[in-house]
Subunit: 195 residues, 2 copies
Amino acid sequence: MADIDSGSAQPAPRKRADARRNERALLDAAAAAFVTSGVDVPVRDIAVRAGVGVGTIYRHFPSRADLIVAVYRHQIEACAEAGPALLADSDTPYAALARWIDLFVDFLVTKHGLAAALQSDDAAFQTLHAYFLDRLVPVCDQLLDAAVAAGEIRPDLDAYGLLRGVGNLCIGAGNDPRYDARRLVDLLVAGLGVR
Amino acid sequence: MADIDSGSAQPAPRKRADARRNERALLDAAAAAFVTSGVDVPVRDIAVRAGVGVGTIYRHFPSRADLIVAVYRHQIEACAEAGPALLADSDTPYAALARWIDLFVDFLVTKHGLAAALQSDDAAFQTLHAYFLDRLVPVCDQLLDAAVAAGEIRPDLDAYGLLRGVGNLCIGAGNDPRYDARRLVDLLVAGLGVR
DNA sequence: CAACATACGGAACGGCGTTCCGGTTGCCAA
DNA sequence: TTGGCAACCGGAACGCCGTTCCGTATGTTG
């Protein structure tokens, strides 16, 4: 159920074997390349790693953003699902929010260049933008609402703004040991608390 | 005294008239292009605007970062000089810090793409990075130290981290009406305060 | 095994930043 | 005024990028 599309009778009449093999090789190669060289690794490098031509990449993933989404889908999904769980497990909604944001930061700072790609206004990255937003904004919203309802934080900020802010703060983390994105995010979250 | 180099006997033996004319035309053209299309406007566009060849740009400004620095030098200088002034004029060091950061945010959000360029780890932008840091970190440090000494903020954060955080939060502001960088910066600064 | 849809590889395209160099032009000395 | 030279100019050229296109190869199905 974590696959791209599930349920219903397979309306896609099954792909050719080599196509499926290449798609998997591409996902593996891309994941490895992203770790080594960041998400802006040249498309050709990924193609070489996977042992395919560049055309094959674009047939499977119409834009580089789709490839990024495909590679990280599981982790994003896991992050989204952790929201309600944290809300149930934590002492207060605010604590749940803080821990959830920690999770999000963990995810972002370990993916070189991903936070930057998320903010790019390049049309090619709209898919990426949209997927993150669709999946995470509702979760964040729920946490935020609960914390506001509990009177723990000011109702200053919407989920979209918070997520973008956190995402922005994570840009460049990992490239520069002097820059501690996590601490800044903590301060931001602290600033959210009622005084 | 606000010019690029002043004082001392001119060790540079005076440039040719056309060179000086072109340099000025380039600065004007670049400033206009930055407003219209952001700081990542293609170099060729700037050249066309200025009525010169691209070679001329690189002769005067070895990298695009140098051009950006040259265009905004005055404003950055003004921002730096406002630091001590605010410290003298404000009720508390924390208030001065908050107002100074406001100034910095004002500067960044009105320059499309500048905040993003500031964070780029591309080698070509090292000059840009270095200039901002050299000029603003000491000022921010002074404000931060004063506020810490007054017991107004926690000594959690160094000037470098704060400036980068604020810079990061300003990325993409102006492209997206749903994203209010200023509010996030305010929250961050609020988080800095002692509780 | 044939024949056809599907998928493949990589050349080709347009755009970018930057470099290079043959031609031009401002400047100063004669 | 003019000659000559250093300084400067324009834009072609280079290498890298993402993306598109198409002739060819191959899995699949009857």
